[in-house]
């Protein structure tokens, strides 16, 4: 069943905030504490918040399992793909080929205390995004699947 109207409205409002905050955590993984896992977990918790505020039947109308599953696969493929590109470039698996290259995410960082700049880190932000997408999908779908088991009696 759904929770009361207040909780539902609060969840709706907070979901957006949590998503943008989770994406912030993912994007700034190489500058501040956080990263793909943490940010993905934050967003997935946001999804859990929406799931708890509404009933299961309503939720599966809003959040689709197949989309989440595809998201998870896509994140992982992107992660492994970024790592594989390095082989294509003639270096090793998981080589950070973008770091200090000057292109996207390729700014150099001087040694020592500094606030950091988003446009650094090489492939690390890409991997953060990939892992974030994967963890988001994975943890949200776990909760959805576990909810689907409630109240279902044994079949056949």
């Amino acid at each position: 069943m759904r929770m009361s109207k207040i909780v539902r409205f609060g969840a709706d409002v907070l979901f957006g905030a949590i998503v943008i905050f989770g994406l912030y955590v993912i994007m700034h993984g190489h500058l501040t504490p956080g990263g793909g896992f943490q940010g993905g977990a934050v967003v997935a918790t946001g999804a859990a918040l929406v799931i708890v505020a509404y009933s299961y039947e309503e939720v599966i109308g809003m959040i689709r399992k197949t989309v989440l599953m595809a998201q998870e696969s896509a994140g992982l493929v992107m992660f492994a793909g970024v790592a594989l590109i390095a082989i294509g470039l003639g270096t090793t698996f998981f080589f950070n080929f973008l770091a200090n290259s000057g292109s996207l995410f390729g700014m150099t960082v001087p040694f020592g205390p500094n606030p950091g700049e988003l446009n650094t880190g090489g492939v690390l932000p890409l991997m953060n995004i990939a892992v974030g997408i994967e963890v988001w999908g994975g943890l949200a779908i776990v909760i959805l699947y576990m909810l689907s088991g409630i109240g279902k009696t044994k079949e056949a």
Binding site: G35, A83, V109, F111, N114, G149
Partner: protein
């Protein structure tokens, strides 16, 4: 009988794990060579301020692939558990 055995083994384990509290000193690790290397060079090599992220995705990136795979495995496993059973599942009584 089982309860006594359990309590006994818990006590034995507690005693032996107490070794880690005796032998290691908190706050002053013995060897720090590898981590010193990370802290010294991580920022410039990977152009990253967060050394933890550098280790997670660059120096030990392969672990992270494995870790994501663990999550993926668990998710697919949970999906397998809650899948909708079809008729042929029940027919086959292997």
């Amino acid at each position: 009988m089982r309860k006594e055995l359990s309590i006994l083994i818990i006590i034995i384990f507690g005693l032996f794990l107490g070794l880690i509290a005796l032998d290691l000193t908190f706050g002053e690790p013995d060897n720090t060579a590898m981590d010193d290397y990370f802290i010294r060079n991580g920022q410039e090599q990977a152009a990253t301020n967060n050394i933890v992220t550098t280790i997670v995705f660059d120096y030990r990136g392969f672990d992270t692939l494995g870790e994501s795979t663990v999550l993926f495995t668990a998710v697919v496993g949970v999906a397998l558990m809650y899948r909708k059973l079809v008729r042929s599942d029940a027919d086959e009584n292997e």
